[in-house]
């Protein structure tokens, strides 16, 4: 472990380092860190939507009908990201939009659930995103 978990799960640090992004952070009741953010991102721009200092940053690039996701690892742990593929391209799902869901594991220490909702505003050539990440020590993950 290259950083102490207490530091990585500090809401104060997440709020401070994500302040320019308008990111909010708090401690989860059963241990862990919750970070949330919302943003309007123009088509074609790559913008950071969530920043977990020392762990990862999630960047998004919306296009009119596609969405690029860039999970950027900021630590030395072996990281595994998995996506719920049925939520990946909502336009193929006639039942309506659902949050994009990503699950990450950071070594055997931390687990992360990310949910991203998006609403495209074609008149503004941009997409609204609302995102949250729940980061927990593996021992307390539900």
């Amino acid at each position: 472990m290259d950083r102490a978990p207490a530091e990585l799960l500090s809401p104060d640090r997440a709020a401070a380092e994500g302040a320019a992004l308008g990111q909010l952070a708090c401690e989860l009741p059963d241990g862990g860190l919750l970070i949330t953010a919302s943003r309007l991102v123009e088509f074609g721009a790559r913008a950071a939507i969530l920043l977990a200092p020392g762990l990862f940053r999630l960047d998004l690039t919306p296009q009119e009908e596609t969405l690029g996701l860039y999970p950027r690892v900021l630590c030395g742990w072996e990281v595994d990201w998995r996506a719920a593929e049925e939520s990946w391209d909502g336009y193929r799902d006639a039942s309506g939009p659902a949050p994009i869901e990503l699950h990450g594991t950071f070594g055997d220490q931390l687990t992360v659930w990310i949910h991203v909702l998006s609403f495209t505003e074609r008149d503004a050539l941009a997409t609204h995103f609302v995102a949250k990440a729940e980061i927990r020590p593996v021992a307390t993950a539900p």
Partner: protein, 248 residues
């Protein structure tokens, strides 16, 4: 409105993206950021980039001109700049209608259609806002028909056909229930259940089917459904979208 132009790699983005809520655009080999307020000193120091003032009209920041496919067909929105491509298609999108040209499946379908010599009719099944049907009509295919189950898509497709001065017969039709219109070339940029329905309805009038809207692990079943057709050309993207031209 301020514009910052700079060069950099992922390590630089690690420093500046958390400080740039609007993110960065790629313009050739350079990165460009826009801000209504002066950029933070930390960003200027890290990037060493050049700042200039630009008009606050965000539409002017659309540096692209839509997409140009095979150097022949340009597909763009009314807000984007004209390209020098010989065939220009201008389409608008509204609501949940699909087909602005930004999606790789649309672009691959156009690329595959461009390889055929126009000789007969085209049916665009799941036509969205009419992009592929308009391209077909502009290439010289006739008659061209388009159907989609989303009423707003057909409404916008009619507007787009008029905008591009082409004659296309457009109708609301749910291919899960209705029989598909058939033609020498079928454009089917749709998920596998639609392909199953279309494949079951294909008859001797159909010479080519341009298939997309599917990913790599769906190819085998979809191709098998189009009995009597062989894969004449296959295209794919890194994120697994597939487009095929099936011919008989």
């Amino acid at each position: 409105m301020y514009r910052l132009t700079f060069s950099g790699d992922e390590d630089l983005l690690d420093v500046v993206l958390p400080l740039l809520p609007a993110g960065v655009h790629t313009d050739g080999d350079e990165l460009v950021a826009f801000s209504g307020a002066p950029f933070p000193p930390a960003v200027l120091e890290a990037t060493g980039g050049a700042v200039d003032e630009v008009p606050a009209d965000w539409r002017q920041r659309q540096v692209g001109s839509g997409v140009v496919i095979s150097g022949v067909v340009s597909i763009r929105s009314p807000f984007e700049q004209k390209s020098s491509a010989p065939i220009e298609v201008v389409v608008e999108r509204r609501g949940s209608a699909f087909g602005s040209g930004s999606h790789p499946t649309t672009q691959m379908c156009v690329a595959l259609l461009l390889e055929l010599e126009p000789s007969g009719g085209v049916a665009d099944l799941g036509c969205g806002v009419g992009t592929l049907a308009i391209v077909a009509a502009k290439l010289g295919w006739a008659p061209v028909v388009g159907v989609d189950r989303v009423p707003v898509a057909i409404e916008v497709a009619r507007e787009n056909a008029a905008r591009n001065a082409v004659n296309i017969d457009l109708a609301v039709s749910d291919l899960a229930i209705d029989d598909p219109p058939l033609a020498e070339v079928l454009l089917v940029n749709a998920p596998p259940p639609v392909h199953a329905r279309v494949a079951a309805a294909v008859d001797e009038r159909v010479r080519h089917v341009i298939v997309s809207g599917i990913v790599a692990d769906e190819v085998e079943d979809v191709v098998k459904a189009y009995a009597g057709f062989k894969v004449a050309k296959a295209l794919g993207t890194e994120d697994e979208w597939i487009a095929l031209r099936l011919s008989c």
